[in-house]
Amino acid sequence: MNILRLDINGLLDCLSSWAGGQELYGPVKDGWRRISRDGLEAVVSIPPGAPKAPIKTFFLAQPETLFTFSARHGDDDAWIPTPPKEAPNRRVLFGVRPCDARSIALNSMPYRDDPYYQARMDKTAVVGLSCNETCSTCFCKSVGGSPYGTEGLDILLTKADGGFIAEVLTSKGEGLLEKGTGTPAGDGDMARLKALRDAAQAGTSDTQALSASFKAKNLMQLYNARLWQGLSEPCLNCGACTFLCPTCYCFDIQDEVVRQAGRRIRYWDSCMFPLFTLHASGHNPRGEKIKRVRNRFMHKLKYFTERFGALSCVGCGRCIRECPVNIDIREVIRDLLSVE
C-alpha cells in the first residue's frame, strides 16, 4: 500500500483528470451528481455524514435491464433474450464515506456471482473521504466500521494539516493516480493518521463485537421478542428506510413491453411492501405489518449475520434521519441485545 500527501491543488488536478477521462460523481447537497471539470469546487468541501442518496444506485441500477427482446410476433428472434451489449461506463466515485464504501463490500457478498453487479464493480473506482467530523446519527463504529475505514475503497483521503493524506489501497487505486501525483507521506503523516484512527476507536470495544453478539443470540427468541409489536405500531410500511439504506439490496424482476420492444428489468424492492411476499393464491406469509418490520431488522441484524458473518448495516444513519415516524435502528439493536 502506497501512502501519499496531496495538497488541495494536487487533489484538484486528480479530480480534473478523472472528470475528463471518465465519469466522475460526488456528493452534492443530498444526492450523487456527475461532476464536470468546471464544477470541481462542488465536491472539495463535503459536509459531515453520508449524503441522503445511497451509493447503491451505482451498483444496483434503478432499473437494471437484464435483457431486451423483440416482442414483434413473426420475428425470428421474437422473445429471444439479448443481454445489454454496452458495458457500464468507467466511473470514479469521489467523496465516498467509509460507511458507504463498506456497504459496497458487504453487498458484494450476496452479489458475488451476479454479472451485472460485478460488471459495475469492475468499472467503478471508489475514492473515499474519511470522517474527521461525524453526525449525531452516525454509528459506524458500533456496527463494525470506522470513520477511517478502508473496506470497499480504492483510495482513502484523510484531511490533515491543510491537505490530504491519500492511502492508495488497491491496484485500481494506483491506476487512478498519474505518475508524480503528490509526495510520499512522511513519518509525521503516518503518525497523524494513526493518531486519528486510534482516537476514533478509543472507547469502543472490538469492532466485531456486535455481530458476534447477534450470532450468539437464538434466532427464534429474537423473532418472538415482545418489542416488535410496539416498534411496528407507528411504522407506515413505506420503503423510505429500505430505499435509502445502502445495504438493503432486495429487488424485483418484471417484464415490460412497449410498442413491441420488450425488456426484463430488475429494480429495487422492499420487504416493507405487502406485495413482496404475496403468493398468486392470495396467501401472504408476511401479510401483517409487524412481520414485515421484523423481517427488515432481523435480516440486517441476524439473518445476514448468520449467512455472511457481518451485520447488514453500516451505521450511516440515513434511516434514522429520514424515517417519517423516526424508527431508530440503534434503539432496535439495543432492545434486541437485551432479549433473553
Binding site: D30, G31, P47, P48, G49, K52, Q62, P63, E133, C135, S136, T137, E233, P234, L236, N237, C238, G239, A240, T242, F243, L244, D252, Q254, E256, I265, Y267, W268, S270, F273, L275, K289, I320, R321, E322, P324, V325, N326, I327, D328, R330, E331
Partner: protein, 342 residues
C-alpha cells in the same frame, strides 16, 4: 417546550390516563417523542401508565387518522370472513386530532372506514406544525442538535452554532394556508382555540397556473425527479386505504415500477387524482417524503378546483357526499367539445 405545548401535553396525558383507567377506551393514539430533534412518533398508549409518554409540540406532523382503521380493527375480537359481526359495543379508541386530522376522520366516516361511536376525539387547535426541512435550511447544512420551542420562536443549536428563528417562518406550507386549524368534530377540546384569517389560500397554485405550459411541465418533472418510489407519501396518507393500490395492480399494470420519468409521473398523477375532493391538505405526504418533493401542490390544485367548480371542501360534514361521488345537473362542462346540432 413552549408553555402552551406543555399545557396541552399535560391535558392530553390527563385525559388519556382517565379514559384508559375508566376502561372507556382500549387504546389512545397520540404522539411520543422521537430520538432526534424535531421528530415525533405516533404512539398507541394501552395502559394508563403509558399516558405519560404522550407529548404535544410543533413537530406532530403525521396524520393520526391514518392509523385509525387498522387500530380499530386490531381491537375487534378475531373472526373469520363468514362469522357474523360481534354483538355488543366494540372497544373504543381515543385520538388526538387537529383540524386536518379531524377532517380526515370525517372523510373516513363518509367513506365508512371508521365508526364515530368507537372514537373519543381530543380536539386540539393547531398553531401550524413546523417543517423540519425549513429549519434545516435555516441552519444552512449544520446539523441541529437541539431545537427548543418558544412562543413564537425556535431556538436551534448545534456544534458551534446557535440561532433563533421566527417560528412562523418555518411552519409547513399547508399550515400557512390552512383555514380549518380547529377540529371540526371532537368530544373534548384541549387548549386554546384560534381563529386565523387566511387569505390567498390557493396563491401557490395560482402562481403555477400563471406559468406557461412548458414551464409547468418542467416544474412538474423537476419536482418529481428525485422520487425513489418509496410510497411514504401514499402510506402516510389517511385517504389511502385500498387493499390493493393501483400501483400494485398487475392486471393490468397501470404504472411501471421503475423510477424512469414516465413511471414516476404516472404514479404522482394518479396518486394525487385519487385524493381529488378528499384531501384535507394535512401535509403528511410532504412531511413523510424523504426526498423533499412538494407533492402537496398536486393535491392542492385538485382541492382548489373541487372548491371552485363544485363548492366542495373535504371533511367538513359527515353527512355530505364526497364531491366525486355525487353530481349536480348544472355542473360546469365548458371543457367539453360542443358540436351544434345541424
Amino acid at each position: 417546550m413552549s408553555d402552551t405545548n406543555a399545557k396541552i401535553t399535560e391535558e392530553i396525558r390527563a385525559k388519556a390516563r382517565e379514559l384508559l383507567s375508566s376502561g372507556e377506551i382500549a387504546a389512545f393514539l397520540g404522539f411520543t417523542s422521537g430520538s432526534l430533534p424535531m421528530t415525533t412518533r405516533p404512539f398507541v398508549a394501552k395502559r394508563p401508565g403509558d399516558a405519560d409518554k404522550l407529548i404535544w409540540n410543533s413537530f406532530c406532523v403525521m396524520n393520526l387518522a391514518n392509523y385509525l382503521p387498522a387500530l380499530l380493527e386490531s381491537l375487534e375480537p378475531p373472526r373469520g370472513p363468514k362469522d357474523p359481526p360481534p354483538a355488543g359495543p366494540l372497544p373504543k379508541v381515543g385520538v388526538v386530532a387537529t383540524g386536518c386530522c379531524s377532517r380526515n376522520i370525517v372523510v373516513q366516516m363518509q367513506e365508512r372506514q371508521v365508526d364515530r361511536s368507537r372514537l373519543v376525539i381530543l380536539g386540539v387547535s393547531s398553531r401550524g406544525m413546523v417543517d423540519r426541512k425549513k429549519v434545516m435550511a435555516a441552519a444552512e447544512g449544520r446539523e441541529p442538535l437541539k431545537v427548543e420551542e418558544g412562543g413564537h420562536t425556535l431556538k436551534v443549536s448545534g456544534r458551534d452554532y446557535e440561532l433563533e428563528i421566527d417560528r412562523w417562518s418555518a411552519v409547513r406550507d399547508n399550515c400557512l394556508t390552512c383555514a380549518h386549524n380547529n377540529p371540526v368534530i371532537s368530544d373534548y377540546l384541549i387548549g386554546p382555540v384560534s381563529n386565523r384569517d387566511v387569505k390567498d389560500r390557493f396563491a401557490q397554485i395560482e402562481a403555477i397556473e400563471a406559468m406557461p405550459a412548458n414551464a409547468r411541465w418542467k416544474w412538474f418533472t423537476d419536482e418529481i425527479a428525485s422520487c425513489i418510489r418509496c410510497y411514504a407519501c401514499r402510506n402516510a396518507c389517511p385517504l389511502c386505504y385500498c387493499p390493493t393500490c393501483f400501483v400494485d395492480d398487475s392486471r393490468p399494470q397501470w404504472v411501471g415500477k421503475s423510477t424512469e420519468p414516465a413511471d414516476t409521473a404516472l404514479f404522482h398523477i394518479l396518486r394525487a387524482f385519487h385524493c381529488a375532493g378528499r384531501c384535507t391538505d394535512c401535509g403528511a405526504c410532504e412531511s413523510a417524503c424523504p426526498m423533499g418533493i412538494k407533492m402537496r401542490l398536486f393535491t392542492r390544485k385538485l382541492s382548489k378546483d373541487a372548491f371552485n367548480l363544485f363548492g366542495a371542501e373535504a371533511g367538513l360534514d359527515p353527512q355530505a357526499q364526497p364531491p366525486l361521488a355525487t353530481y349536480r345537473p348544472d355542473d360546469p362542462e365548458e371543457f367539453l367539445i360542443v358540436e351544434e346540432k345541424k
